[in-house]
């Protein structure tokens, strides 16, 4: 699609815009048809897709509805039934005031020891956790991916590109040598408590994986015959990078990214769980599990629901990521099944000619 927009020198802008849109629609249509086909074939992917969709829409609503309603109606409406931070009056049972209430019709997930509605807290934590997952993974993809691209594409030894590539890779190796969780903890502990320091810590440990991944993919594509063919057709190196290399590595990166969102989430929750990271009163799933972990047997709902939220979210992203490969590239399925068929490949006799 971007190629349609780039090289249009002679025809009118409107004409090319129309053509681009039409082409874009055509591509979108074929991708969605594919999507439906894959979803129907893979029940797990379907589950992942639906849950991710649901989660995303919910997060969107949680964030967007209050300010929009404020602007439109004059008062902010929130999706959450209760204010997540409000300490609700605790019912008195017998002689004591028991704040922690089990799940009921008014409080779907019950209340915690301070009387706050767990359901509202879980709901409000959703956009936070999701945003962190996407932003860390996203930034790592862009930054790490960019470095990996450079490191992979211009890596001929004894050239400037080669030296740069070498430097990038060795620095990456240094970061990779540390277990990410430990490093993140160390950085977070140094920077102090808080959401931003925590996110920064994870970020610093996250980007190296993308460098490795991207570089590997670039190296694999770089030596493909179609890249050589393009070069022989007179295509400049830059165009080769954007047209052929980028397009062909995008798919595994997107798949990895999707599954990575879940992983970031787990790490973030873990760091919060340990006590570094998000301040204790801010609703965040890991926080909530940590704060009430001791009460697992007494008041399970305070721990189980946030934990379940983490679990479901991460699982959904994983399932979706797994199926994403099939959605983006229908051919990969055929390739997998063809491999099982013994066929004398006439093409392999072509391998003979090496030198």
């Amino acid at each position: 699609m971007k190629s349609a927009g780039v090289r249009v020198a002679r025809t009118s802008t409107v004409g090319s815009a129309v053509a681009t849109i039409r082409y874009g629609l055509h591509r979108a249509r074929s991708t969605s048809l594919n999507l439906i086909k894959v979803l129907r074939a893979n029940p797990l992917t379907l589950i992942g897709f639906i849950v991710v969709l649901f989660i995303s829409v919910t997060a969107f609503l949680v964030v967007v509805v209050p300010p929009v309603s404020q602007a439109l109606l004059g008062r902010a409406i929130s999706i959450a039934p209760y204010d997540p931070n409000a300490l609700l009056p605790c019912p008195v049972v017998g002689n004591s005031t028991v704040c922690a209430q089990p799940p009921s019709a008014e409080h779907f997930f019950g209340t915690d020891r301070s009387g706050r509605d767990v359901f509202s807290r879980v709901l409000v934590a959703l956009p936070l956790d999701l945003a962190i997952g996407f932003s860390v993974a996203g930034f790592s993809l862009l930054f790490g991916g960019g470095l990996g691209l450079i490191g992979g594409f211009w890596d001929k030894p004894w050239t400037i590109g080669g030296v740069v590539s070498l430097t990038i890779m060795r620095i990456t190796d240094v970061f990779l040598a540390f277990p990410s969780l430990v490093l993140a903890l160390a950085i977070a502990a140094t920077l102090g408590r808080g959401t931003i320091p925590c996110v920064l810590a994870i970020l610093l440990t996250w980007w190296p994986y993308y460098v490795r991944l991207t570089r590997g993919e670039v190296l694999a594509v770089k030596h493909q015959p179609y890249v050589v063919a393009s070069r022989s057709a007179g295509v400049s190196e830059g165009r080769i990078l954007f047209r052929h290399v980028l397009r062909n590595i995008l798919e595994p990166l997107v798949v990895y990214f999707t599954m990575d969102v879940g992983t970031v989430l787990v790490v973030f929750s873990t760091i919060s769980f340990i006590g570094i990271g998000v301040p204790p009163e801010v609703p965040e799933w890991g926080n909530m599990v940590s704060a009430y972990g001791d009460y697992l047997l007494l008041f399970p709902w305070m721990v189980v629901f946030p934990g379940l939220a983490i679990f479901v979210t991460v699982l959904a992203f994983s399932l979706l990521g797994d199926g994403l490969r099939d959605i983006l590239d229908p051919r990969s399925r055929r390739a997998l099944t063809q491999a099982a068929i013994p066929a004398t490949s006439v093409a392999s006799s072509a391998v003979r000619s090496e030198a």
Partner: protein, 380 residues
């Protein structure tokens, strides 16, 4: 009555993949006479490789599915055997060599260790501790060959005395089998075999690797050797050497060979009888000289004609229009009819006469699955 070494009856195999069902083999019937080389020739996708893998049951059951048919190997119904008995038939009964020897040899082991495996199995069978082969299956008599040299190498007991046998189990010494391994290498005409014992497969050339595969395949004295495109990945001059080797060994040990290739020339050189396959169907079978000089199926004729034998000035190459059909959407009736110059209305409805379990053609002659096979001779 000579028991045929291989008899296939109406074998049909499908591949069920997401995109559809591919009919890789349909009603293939064939019989091999012992001591002869049966060649199977056809283009990519005709099913010859599937056939080769189906006989020793090497197909991956999903996605492959044997729909119908029987495979009789020396009187044993291979397809009906329980899985645990299969190793008893393979190796000593049916042995196989493949197209790319680099894939068939374990890259992590040196040549010596690859062959030691074969030698050890043979020795262990001699001790009687491991069953060599199905009790009903006697080992092929290799002493009937013309030259005693090779058959001697393959038949003499490697462990003549009980003391030797005992030592086999006790020894972990790598070099215990050195002499026997060297003998195998000499069997396949590798000069100075000592030099290659310590090399890894990737350090050898393709021709050498294939010779080692042949040595390993013959080491268990199989009654049937299936060769699936064994020389297609080799250079022309090396291919000639390996084919010569195979011919010489064949004369010496007289095993039956099922030789698969897409190269009409290689089949002409190696095979005694040839079967031609098209889109999963065996369309012609007969003695190789007959089939090549007087083909009785239009496809065979077209195939033979499309091998370029002329110069540019002699005009365009005769070429067959159209292309091989998609195995999941086969034409009705005879699958060749859309491209056949002799096609008549009946061809779209009926699949053509089936080849009776075409016996080694000396007894039942030359058959073709075409209603109009008599007219093939008059085609250009």
């Amino acid at each position: 009555m000579v028991d045929s070494v291989l008899r296939i009856e109406n074998l049909s195999v499908d591949y069920e993949v997401g995109a559809g069902t591919f009919h890789a083999l349909r009603d293939v019937s064939l019989e091999m006479t012992p001591g002869r080389v049966a060649g199977i020739v056809g283009e990519t996708g005709c099913g010859k490789s599937t056939l080769a893998h189906a006989i020793p049951r090497l197909l991956r059951e999903p996605p492959a599915r044997v729909r119908r048919g029987k495979v009789w190997f020396r009187g044993i119904d291979v397809l009906a055997l329980p899985r645990w008995k299969l190793p008893l038939v393979r190796g000593t009964g049916i042995s196989m060599i493949f197209q790319e020897p680099i894939n068939s040899l374990n890259p992590a082991y040196r040549i010596y260790d690859q062959l030691v495996e074969a030698v050890r199995i043979r020795k262990m069978r001699e001790t009687g501790k491991t069953p060599g082969v199905l009790p009903s299956l006697e080992p092929h008599d290799y002493s009937t060959g013309a030259s005693p040299k090779a058959s001697e190498a393959l038949t003499r007991p490697l462990l003549p005395s009980p003391a030797d046998r005992k030592r086999l189990h006790l020894t972990r010494d790598r070099d215990a089998h050195r002499a026997d391994v060297l003998e195998y290498l000499r069997l396949v005409r590798i000069n100075d075999p000592e030099t290659i014992l310590d090399l890894y497969p990737h350090e050898l050339s393709g021709g050498m690797r294939q010779r080692i595969m042949i040595a390993m395949a013959l080491s268990e004295k199989p009654s049937l050797l299936i060769a699936d495109e064994p020389t297609s990945a080799l250079d022309v001059t090396i291919q000639a050497q390996v084919l010569t080797l195979m011919k010489e060994l064949m004369e010496e040990v007289r095993t039956s060979i099922l030789f698969i290739s897409h190269d009409l020339g290689v089949i002409a050189e190696m095979a005694d009888d040839v079967g031609v396959m098209y889109a999963g169907h065996l369309v012609e079978f007969g003695p190789v000289a007959e089939v090549y000089s007087r083909p009785r199926h239009p496809y065979t004729k077209a195939l033979l004609r499309s091998v370029p034998r002329q110069y540019k000035d002699d005009g365009p190459l005769p070429s067959l229009p159209g292309s091989v059909p998609n195995l999941s959407h086969l034409p009705s009736g005879c699958t060749f009819h859309p491209r056949c110059p002799l096609a008549r209305p009946i061809c779209a409805k009926e699949p053509g006469p089936s080849l009776e379990a075409a016996k080694g053609a000396v007894t039942s002659g030359h058959q073709a699955a075409c209603f109009f096979s008599d007219e093939v001779a008059s085609l250009p």
